[in-house]
Amino acid sequence: MTSAVQAPKFSAEIEAIRAQARSHPERGAITNGYSADRREVLALLDGALATELVCYLRYKRHHFIATGLSAEVAATEFREHAMQELEHADQIAERIVQLGGEPDFAPDTLVARSHADYVAGTSLDEMIRENLIAERIAIDSYRLIIRFLGEDDPTTRNLIEAILAVEEEHADDLAGLLKSPLGVR
């Protein structure tokens, strides 16, 4: 078996890891084995953070307007999606800090940094459609980030994968709402 051949090599690697771990403990989670381009990862996460915050704001507005229109099914979906986007924003911000970056919450540049747009929306149909489009943009931009990260930063990749799964659910919910007479009343 190959394991017998690899065992000595593996233990040598562990020894090297033990030595490297002592060299810069102040770097925290950024160890010698972190092979991703940290600047690039931070830039991607910055875009993802802005995207989640803009989606949160859009959903929030749409929740209130749908409530005013007594479109309760859509209003409830918008509120739930808004809360989930805000949780994603927090998770991404935590990861940015772990990677030694600073999460940027500056409101005046949020929309410019976001992958998806803020569309105010005038009718329920338009609001559902715009949220769906934004989710679809987020889905594909997260797939791109996942491919970029590959094996270089599995923790960030896992985070984005988990967020992607929720965004796919959102898109599915909205597509259902678009078809349903209940959604658009």
Binding site: L53, L57, R58, K60, R61, F64, I65, T67, G68, L69, A93, E94, I96, V97, E102, P103, D104, F105, A106, P107, D108, L110, V111, A112, Y118, A120, T122, S123, L124, D125, V184, R185
Partner: protein
């Protein structure tokens, strides 16, 4: 289907315009406190971070109340921060 034209958001109503301005300020404060929370946490200043988080949650609750009131008065709450920054010149540039 009913629609709400953007012009109906405040419709020139000074109360709605004021409430929307206040809403924008609360959201901007929420974001600033959130940023400060993460910065303080990273510095290991746990109790300071906790204070910022509480402030952020209070701003969040206040934004919620303002938006609900705007809807009750027949307006549309404005969550577009960039437009708000342009319109009212609110100093939103954040400093750590």
């Amino acid at each position: 289907m009913r629609s709400l034209a953007p012009s109906a958001a405040s419709g020139g109503d000074p109360i709605l315009a004021e409430l929307n301005r206040a809403l924008g300020q609360e959201i901007a404060c929420y974001l600033r406190h959130k940023r400060q929370y993460f910065a303080a946490k990273d510095l290991g200043a746990g109790s300071v971070a906790q204070t910022f988080l509480e402030h952020a949650q209070q701003d969040f609750g206040q934004a919620q109340l303002l938006a609900a009131r705007i809807v009750t008065l027949g307006g549309a709450p404005d969550f577009a921060l960039s437009e708000l920054a342009d319109a009212h010149g609110i100093a939103m540039r954040l400093t750590a």
